[in-house]
């Protein structure tokens, strides 16, 4: 699998994504600078976390209009898989690859913690290695993760299998809290209609090795490598 990571001024989790992709695929991903207008031929495009352009306007809003995003959209239309994590989720949503919007966290505070999620749909290369309904733990680290869309769209997303992950509470764990940001219907991540594009707030790339305390994010990268190699 060949992957490209798009780097904007203010991206800061691109190194985490490089490490996770390289560990899973054995190949270093390309780093593509935001001013570039062309992408190398790749099977996967990752838009990483961070604070692109400082997130001073609205999270992801500036980056969504950078030259490279036109190319990302064109590749996504051709079926190239796109993964947007955290700020990347905000950017690809602002760019119109996914429905809805990401708003300020309900508690109005940045939140960083390990979060329990339920895998809602496994019919995608991103989630194929998980079991439907499986509870996994990824860290979250964001201030604007409050996913919003109207009730009708939530219903449609659910009906069409576009909800990828939901925040859940886990009473059996030391930290049983659920939804960290007040998102609609506890949504943590969604697919596009063809399930070739995934956007999510939690960070699977920070849960891939023993040092991270859990490896629940590893199956996502392993699944992508398996499907796209």
């Amino acid at each position: 699998m060949k992957a490209a990571i798009v780097v904007f001024p203010g991206s800061n989790r691109e190194r985490d994504a490089v490490a996770a992709l390289e560990a899973a695929s054995g190949t270093k991903p390309y780093l593509v600078w935001h001013r570039d207008t062309e992408l190398p031929k790749v099977d996967l495009i990752v838009v990483p976390g961070g604070f692109s352009y400082g997130d001073y306007l609205r999270s992801g809003a500036m980056a969504a209009h950078s030259p490279i995003m036109r190319e990302v959209k064109a590749r996504a239309d051709q079926g190239v898989r796109v993964l947007g994590v955290c700020n990347g989720f905000q950017i690809i949503t602002e760019a119109g690859l996914l429905p809805g919007a990401l708003m300020r966290n309900g508690a109005l505070k940045f939140v960083c913690r390990v979060q329990h999620l339920r895998v809602e749909n496994t019919d995608s290369p991103f989630t194929a290695k998980y079991a439907k309904g499986q509870i996994v733990r990824y860290p979250v680290a964001h201030g604007d993760g409050n996913y919003w869309t109207d009730a009708e769209t939530v219903k449609r997303l659910d009906g069409e299998g576009q909800v990828a992950f939901r925040y859940v509470a886990d009473e059996t764990r030391a930290d049983p809290r659920g939804n960290p940001n007040g998102s609609a219907s506890d949504i943590a991540g969604i697919f596009n209609a063809k399930r070739t594009v995934l956007g999510l707030m939690p960070h699977p790339e920070d849960a891939v090795e023993g040092l991270h305390g859990n490896t629940d994010g590893k199956p996502m990268f392993d699944g992508l490598v398996e499907a796209l190699s």
Partner: protein, 741 residues
């Protein structure tokens, strides 16, 4: 803007103006003597910041010189932007802690945010990629009307800056005490890593080389910030809000990447960030260290406000700015990198052989004075000081009538602001970005962060117990260093070196100066005994409001190293059936303990004695056990004593402890804060090996019991459930912060 318009804004230079700028009459007269004339307005401003307490360390220098600063591991000690320590394989760790107290009290969000920004720059200026931030915070009493607002603003500011620049904030400490009601402490620490052959210093070299300005544009923010930081607070300090700078973490992130990219080329001769006293201090320090002169022409300097005067530009503390000296002909290489990162870049001057600082603008010269004589004449005072009287030991009679059930005492302690969980704070910090965080503090006695791309790791802690320092500054200073050393040892790290952030009141008062001198003496003793030199630091004096001083707070930031991040051990119990061991002598010292303050309502007695030889012996023993793979969980005994240490290990895991050895134990044994002690949990089959090694090392080891169930218990029954302690421990801060600001 013209020269005439500039002149119209200037004021006549008189003793009165010098006083307003924070200089004494003697200092003003000295300036006249050095120049042989009356300084210009711009020169007066420059001299006043160069001679401010903040920049000149005039009250503290005499004592700081007595600290040990060398060792085989030290590559660069105090005097540069940050200290540099060898961690083997050609790698170094570069770190420093710095205060941003006064600005954070006046404008908590921006004050704390720019504190983080400033310390980050100190570290990446030297060529290091920052890998971790820590902070040591002291707030006033929770009952004080401003405390909630200050906590909210400071935490949000630290997070807002650190999260955006993508450096994980991996921990620190937060205390509350009424002595900080009018003067909080915000001490921020950054740790970075660099290759030993890619370290950059600030000494300028090469007459004719270009002086290059990069980063943000210069505005009128923070003018005379260094002067503010060198004065006591009064009720009208709110009026000083305009001297607080505004941070832009996005620009800082770009600046980190651009500077590191430029440093990977061969273009850089020297680099210095513009921190306190802005362009003045960076230009003077670079030229001064190089024994050269520097001539700046400010017309092309990037400005974000119109009609700025040379005085304003030289004293502005606008953030996210750097000064480079480049090799001849390398300007375009550098310009291309800063263009890529969309940062301002301007050649604003050259190095000269005159030895003078020359400032030109609008076709005229506004400053032309010799650097060395002015720098060297920065005052150095031997201020009078009084030692702190020794406190009497706490008599046994304080326990007369004490009959609180142990569970109730623990509940009370775990709900007190100093011990309460700070989750509400640290969840606002991105502690994981970079993917190298093994432990943040709280999970282990020190944070453990892997060196990017390698298996080895850096362990980091910040420590200080101000109530100890107030009662006995010498012992308190030594204890702060010893506890930092112990916290590093408790995770299995080899302690390397410290940075000291000395926060004290007004040094012109002999009692306060005595606290400072005592703390330095204590720190020096501990550093020598533990081979733990001071490689960087910062002094913040005049932490007083309306004549009331803070508790003496010599915050110690310390760094150690581990050959493999996965060797490190945290505090949480790992499984039921592990044997719980106490390392060190049993507790007896109750003076200045949390128990005495929170349960018996008395703040008295001396702090616990610090026996540095025992400290070293016990710490080396514990580190050896961890490296031998014999330890499942490890926690040093600190605030609250032995029983609180064990309870914290239980709370971190949800696994309880059965402790028959503590049946009917005296409160001194349970809550005494004697030093050089640890609690370990080990697998049953490791106990014999541990005991054998202990015997060989002469270290006392006591079997206390085993990990079991979901409560703490002794032979005579249950003490308290973990859930009960956890509820009060996790509950205090969120409940407190949920009230109206």
């Amino acid at each position: 803007m013209t020269a005439e318009a500039t002149r119209a804004q200037e004021r006549p230079v008189t003793l009165e103006l010098a006083r307003e700028f924070g200089l004494s009459e003697a200092e003003y007269k000295n300036a006249l003597e050095i120049l042989g004339r009356v300084p210009t307005f711009t020169e007066m401003g420059i001299i006043s910041v160069m001679w401010s307490e903040h920049c000149s360390y005039k009250s503290s220098k005499r004592w700081l010189k007595t600290l040990p600063t060398t060792g085989p591991q030290v590559i660069c000690g105090p005097g540069e932007n940050a200290g540099v320590v060898d961690i083997g394989d050609g790698d170094t760790v570069i770190f420093k802690m710095e205060s941003h107290n006064h600005p954070s009290y006046i404008e908590p969000y921006q004050g704390a945010a720019t504190g983080v920004g400033g310390i980050l720059r100190d570290v990446f200026t030297m060529g290091a990629r920052p890998i971790a931030n820590m902070n040591a915070l002291r707030f006033g009493s929770p009952d004080h009307p401003k405390t909630r607002h200050l906590v909210a603003g400071v935490v949000s500011g630290i997070g807002g800056y650190g999260n955006c620049v993508g450096v994980p904030t991996v921990g620190g400490e937060t205390n509350f005490h009424a002595a900080y009601n009018g003067n909080i402490l915000v001490n921020a620490m950054t740790v970075g890593v660099a290759k030993a052959d890619r370290i950059f210093y600030s000494a300028a070299a090469g007459v004719g080389n270009s002086v290059v300005y990069v980063g943000s544009k210069t505005g009128r923010d923070g003018i005379h910030g260094a002067t503010m930081a060198s004065a006591e607070f009064t009720e009208d300090s709110e009026e000083k809000r305009p001297t607080v700078q505004v941070g832009d973490p996005f620009t800082e992130k770009l600046l980190i990447e651009a500077c590191l990219e430029l440093m990977a080329t061969d273009a850089v001769v020297a680099i210095q960030d513009m921190g306190a006293a802005g362009l003045t201090s960076s230009a003077v320090e670079m030229a001064g260290k190089g024994g050269l002169g520097i001539e700046l022409t400010l017309d092309t300097l990037p400005m974000r406000e119109e009609a700025m005067t040379p005085y304003e530009i030289m004293l502005s503390e606008s953030q996210e700015r750097m000064l480079f000296i480049l090799k001849p002909g390398r300007e375009e290489v550098a310009r291309a990198i800063f263009d890529k990162w969309e940062l301002d870049f301007a050649v604003i001057g050259t190095l000269t052989d005159s030895g003078n600082l020359v400032i030109k603008m609008y076709g005229e010269t506004w400053c032309d004075m010799p650097i060395a004589p002015v720098s060297n004449a920065a005052p150095e005072y031997d201020r009078p000081w009084e030692p702190t009287p020794v406190a009497n030991e706490v008599p046994d009679s304080v326990f007369d009538g004490y009959s609180l059930p142990l569970g109730d005492a623990l509940e009370k302690l775990f709900a007190c602001p100093d011990l309460a969980s700070k989750r509400w704070i640290w969840e606002q910090y991105d502690s994981l970005v970079g993917g190298d965080t093994r432990f943040m503090s709280g999970q282990a006695d020190a944070a453990v962060v892997r060196v990017p791309g390698q298996t080895k790791a850096v362990a980091i802690t910040t420590d200080c117990t101000p109530r100890y320092c107030l009662a006995d500054p010498v012992r308190g200073g030594a204890q702060a260093v010893a506890e930092a050393w112990r916290n590093l040892s408790a995770v299995g790290a080899l302690p390397l070196a410290i940075t000291d952030n000395m926060n004290f009141g007004n040094p012109e008062k002999p009692r306060i100066m005595g606290q400072f001198v005592g703390a330095v003496q204590g720190i020096a003793q501990a550093c020598v005994a533990l081979d733990f030199p001071v490689v960087s630091g910062n002094v913040s004096l005049y932490n007083e409001t309306n004549g009331e001083a803070i508790l003496p707070t010599p915050a110690i930031g310390a760094v150690g190293t581990l050959p493999d991040a996965m060797i490190a051990v945290g505090i949480a119990f790992q499984q039921e059936g592990d044997v719980i061991l106490a390392i060190g002598d049993s507790g007896s010292h109750i003076g200045q303990s949390l128990f005495l303050r929170e349960i018996l309502g008395r703040e008295e007695g001396p702090p616990p004695p610090v026996d540095l030889a025992v400290e070293r012996r016990n710490g080396e023993f514990v580190r050896g056990l961890i490296h031998a793979g014999l330890v499942a969980s490890s926690h040093d005994v600190a605030d609250g004593g032995l029983i609180v240490t064990i309870a914290e290990m239980a709370l971190a895991s949800g696994i309880g402890a059965h402790l028959p050895a503590l049946d009917n134990a005296h409160p001194r044994a349970l809550f005494g804060e004697d030093q050089a002690r640890y609690v370990l949990a080990v697998r049953p089959d490791a106990v014999a090996a541990v005991q054998e090694k202990a015997k060989a090392a002469g270290v006392p080891v006591t079997v206390l019991g085993e990990t079991r169930g979901a409560a703490l218990s002794t032979g005579s029954g249950e003490i308290v459930t973990i859930k009960r302690l956890k509820d009060v421990n996790e509950g205090w801060l969120p409940t407190y912060m949920s009230a109206e600001l």
